[in-house]
Symmetry: C2
Subunit: 283 residues, 2 copies
Amino acid sequence: MNKIYIIGVGLIGGSLALDIKKKRPEATIYGIDNSEQHLLEALELNIIDNKATIEDLDKADLVILSIPVDAAVELLPKVLDKVSDFGLVVDVGSTKLDICKVIENHPKRRNFLAMHPIAGTEFSGPKAAISNLFQHKTNIVCEVEKTAFKLQERALNLFTEIGMRMRYMNPESHDKHIAYVSHLSHISAFMLGKTVIEKEKNERDIFDMAGSGFESTVRLAKSSPAMWTPIFKQNKANVVETLEDYIKNLTQFKNMMQNDDFEGVFNEMKDTNYIKQILNGIK
Amino acid sequence: MNKIYIIGVGLIGGSLALDIKKKRPEATIYGIDNSEQHLLEALELNIIDNKATIEDLDKADLVILSIPVDAAVELLPKVLDKVSDFGLVVDVGSTKLDICKVIENHPKRRNFLAMHPIAGTEFSGPKAAISNLFQHKTNIVCEVEKTAFKLQERALNLFTEIGMRMRYMNPESHDKHIAYVSHLSHISAFMLGKTVIEKEKNERDIFDMAGSGFESTVRLAKSSPAMWTPIFKQNKANVVETLEDYIKNLTQFKNMMQNDDFEGVFNEMKDTNYIKQILNGIK
């Protein structure tokens, strides 16, 4: 695997480049990005070795597509058109149904593998790229049976080497469950941030009162709108369902408080403490 | 200040004891607690030097009341009855209006100082006590003018020495603002945890998909119901108001999604990214 092309040299693409370089010192890593500024930064930070364009992809052993999910759905067919019979394309976006659909009948379907490495931070761009981001994290692999065996193996070995454990799932299940464990957390944090800013914007002093609890709960509200808007759009039905459940639970909690049912309030929290065991299980 | 009594040797009381010991090596720290088990743990962990009871408080130079806010409102008048004219009582609970009210006409009002050191973790009990918890954190001080000058000074010096910056505020403002920057974060996390557990309880595997984003957003849902229920009860009106604002914002976000107004969704997130500057200001 000598020629690796990364399309989108931001947080995820850049962090993958850093880890892959360590595991494949013989490979040359090429960066492709809409933003000339990001390419220059990625070169300067030694994330990529060279710039490239879509036209060069016929020489690729591996192409990693790490761009916003709306752009990915548009670009993936063109990328597959370009790669050779021996080239492998993986995408690493946060939604999997639309991307798998858009190439289901593509003549090079067997050259594609859909993944979602579940890792990240609230930052974005090449400067946000960090080493070992994927260590001990989960990589969801979709429709693995539709990828040529030797190409599967190439990708799975590489992602195992950078520290990930694989989990196999169909795209529908992926998008449904990820709405709960990831997308809802983001909206919950964004709306918490909004609610507090609206109330307190004229009283900057008040934020002196914000402790580490607020800080960790609202952290995801720093995330990139350009990345998250297309995710919510593609996963609209699932995300709307999670929001309905969440709003229902919040409303019920509020009603308990208004009815002075503090035994109910206590029990809600007591039951939810079960999250401790679940989070311990993640580690 | 030779005799310091800590009523409630849990996370906050225990952590205060650890820091105060370092700054006042000459002092003896006495623990008072409903739970004999907690007292034994606190002794074993060297958090306190001796056990004591309410009857001993006439000998106290300083009493720190760090128990759930409903118990604090009941116990504070009795504690003030007991202390000598030279004893200082501070309470460190998360609500301030009810506690200030309950002793407003107490003959020893000038022996009391109301504080809220804004620090903590999601854990509880003596084993959760840690050193330096209060370093660089904010301590809200209420109705400072109602405390005898020499006693104020004693408390403010001590809390400054353990690393806190003081902010002065009336109890009404404290309870109103803390509902936004602290209490709402807790309910938001608890209901996020509940929503995800309800949906996924039969699919434990799914939590493999939960990344660090979910983990930090839901962290506060590990918090103690015994501590938080009385806080929500005492601060009911303010907390219900924050919940109404939060639910309104979530509903509006959901409606935008359902109406395919993804420009609106983008702008909501973009505007809320302003939380970055605010959080940088906290540090």
